[in-house]
Symmetry: C2
Subunit: 78 residues, 2 copies
Amino acid sequence: MKARVTVTLKPGVLDPQGAAVARALGALGFDGVGDVRQGKLIEIDLAPGPDPEGTVRAMCEQLLANTVIETYAIEILP
Amino acid sequence: MKARVTVTLKPGVLDPQGAAVARALGALGFDGVGDVRQGKLIEIDLAPGPDPEGTVRAMCEQLLANTVIETYAIEILP
């Protein structure tokens, strides 16, 4: 099975990478671009197990996300 | 409106970041972890316009994705 984890900065945390993208889009002539936030997408191939979501949550807490400034969302795909 | 863009490496392109995550998960004791791929998630606040998906596709082609080695998916949220 496959797990898809999205890790994003919490609201209010400064996102210089997103700000740089927003500025670059403006410089390229794209109008109407407001806030841009950049996060991570992690796709994990997992061996089938009893509680895949719990396993992936533990991975996020221990390695994938810095829970002080980031939140994560987990999606389990068959 | 909001656009969510996911940028991932094309299959077959070496992903050292994903490989490092897979190794680290193994070192932490998570068994059964196979391939790990890491991509980018970009959330863009957009002013309403006639063709948001076309606009965001142009952004991807010009800035957000390196289409030689990366693919992108666009999701328009209300």
